[in-house]
């Protein structure tokens, strides 16, 4: 039996499932923004995916793992001594994670960001920033993990990317959102917070569902090969998702956006420790993440007055941070977990990621803002990104033509 073929099969499905998650990001965003920005949300997510692929193929993946794809096909098929072109589908799988970075940020900056400056940020983040931290944690680069292990007794454990992917994306968004400023009409001069209502709850729910389902590829296939496939990872992902959605149901008083995003908060938080925590630990992690998201959303928007449209800072940032640390608690064998982690490594590893994310977010978006500007003109924002950038609306027949 050809193990490599089976592993290619395994990762192809993982990659396809996480690719599908990008459709989920697109619909979650399209449903949450106002109708005049739906098309832009959809186009931005898919083109960000495209630019991410190019950036990660030519630069990012090599930076993180030292592998490149410039040899002839005959060699590529056996790269790293693995048959059936395993390394290529491995690239595909990891790319779908890398491309989640702009997809996450997208939900924060939507409805007023300019198209090409955002594309430039995407390229920089996926070519350089994300792979830097990814390489540190998953590529063993620069001796960072070795140092943590030597210092605290265990490396930083982030099985499927609570921190590497989600906290990174969520906190990169902080700089972007702050530098961009709030949408027109979001905060009144007298300090009141004005609501901007979502356009389409079914699209939002569809996006959330696609993300939830794809997430089982994100987590289970993070094992990298069939040998490592783990029922524990599947079950923990399930329980954290459920914990998140039920907690958000209660904390969010039946708000459909909170319920559907609460499931995602649970899934964000379980990535790191899904292979080591006990299922009941996973449920608790999810409950905290879901309730924390509802709470964090309101703090960010209403107290801090940061107009993070989809709430990606609490959702991916907050829950990712919590997940990184929680793996250092519920992963301990004293909590029924599999052990092999220490709280300190989890704390330090997580905070390192958050620090990189926050600083690079301000640097990258700040530089682009200075050089070319990142925000639509007031008039473009008023007419909506759909007409301003794409020259078409979400329902063109109905909105645009003579009847």
């Amino acid at each position: 039996m050809n193990t490599a073929g089976n592993d290619v099969f395994f990762l192809t499905l993982g990659a396809a499932m996480v690719l599908a998650m990008h459709a989920g990001f697109a619909f979650l965003e399209a449903g949450t923004v106002r109708k005049k920005n739906q098309v832009n949300a959809l186009v931005r997510v898919i083109t960000d995916f495209g630019f991410s692929t190019v950036a990660y193929f030519f630069v990012g993946f090599t930076l993180a793992y030292g592998i490149s794809f410039f040899a002839p096909v005959s060699e590529l098929n056996l790269l790293n001594g693995k048959a059936n072109g395993y390394e290529m589908v491995h690239f595909f799988f990891l790319l779908t994670f890398a491309a989640a970075i702009p997809a996450i940020i997208s939900g924060g900056i939507t409805e007023r960001v300019r198209f090409w400056p955002n594309t430039l940020a995407t390229v920089v983040l996926v070519a350089l920033v994300y792979p830097f931290y990814e390489g540190l944690i998953w590529g063993g680069n620069l001796g960072y993990q070795a140092w943590l292990e030597a210092t605290f007794g265990a490396a930083f454990h982030d099985f499927a990317g609570s921190v590497v992917v989600h906290a990174m994306g969520g906190f990169l968004a902080l700089g972007a959102v702050v530098l961009l400023g709030a949408r027109k009409g979001r905060y009144a001069k007298d300090g009141r917070v004005l609501a901007i209502l979502p356009s389409n709850i079914p699209f939002l729910a569809l996006g959330s569902w696609i993300l939830c389902v794809g997430w089982f590829g994100f987590n289970v296939m993070s094992a990298g090969n069939v040998e490592g496939a783990s029922g524990l990872v599947a079950m923990n992902s399930l329980l954290a998702m459920v914990g998140g959605l039920l907690a958000a149901l209660v904390a969010g008083r039946n708000d459909p956006g909170f319920v559907h995003n609460g499931a995602l908060a649970g899934l964000v938080a379980i990535c790191a420790g899904s292979d080591i925590v006990h299922p009941i630990g996973a449920l608790v992690i999810g409950v905290v993440a879901g309730a924390g998201f509802v709470f964090g959303f309101q703090v960010v928007q209403n107290r801090l007055k940061i107009d993070d449209v989809l709430g990606v800072i609490p959702l991916h940032g907050g829950a990712g941070l919590w997940g990184g640390i929680a793996a250092g608690i519920f992963g301990l064998s004293s909590f029924g977990g599999a052990g092999g982690v220490t709280f300190m490594s989890q704390l330090v590893g997580t905070l390192t990621g958050v620090a990189i994310a926050i600083s690079c977010g301000f640097i990258v978006y700040g530089a682009i803002k200075v050089v070319m500007g990142i925000r639509l003109s007031e008039e473009q924002e008023y007419h909506g990104a759909d007409l301003s950038i794409h020259n078409i609306s979400a329902n063109p027949e109905q909105d645009m033509a003579a009847h």
Partner: protein, 113 residues
């Protein structure tokens, strides 16, 4: 002829239509509008942030009738659209000089019958 325009609560439309039909008035035109009156807009909360509902959905029913039917039509509307609550709406009556039925070219009373 008189044009009677009533701004009513949307869920009263069926009752008003039935009342008019009973009064022998079959021609009517209906539009979806939004209104502001004593029943003012109000402020709602979404996730802790405010939004204004400045206008309330209303339905506008227009009937054009011969002068002698005007009183009957108004009464039919008043009695059927009345819920006794604020926002029940208003009736506006104005004069119509001429009516033409497009299909036949008939005018005025003939056009209305």
């Amino acid at each position: 002829m008189k044009k009677i325009t009533a701004v009513i609560k949307p869920f009263k439309l069926d009752d008003v239509k039935d009342a008019l039909l009973e009064a022998g008035i079959t021609g009517m035109t209906v539009a979806e509008v939004r209104g502001h009156g004593r029943q003012k807009g109000h402020t709602e909360l979404y996730r802790g942030a405010e939004y204004n509902v400045d206008f309330v959905p209303k339905t506008e029913v227009t009937v054009v009738v011969n002068d002698e039917l005007a009183e009957v039509a108004i009464e039919a509307i008043v009695s059927s659209a009345n819920s006794g609550k604020i926002g029940d709406g208003k009736i506006f009556v104005s004069d119509i000089e001429r009516v033409v039925r497009i299909r036949t070219g008939e005018e005025n009373t003939d056009a209305l019958s």
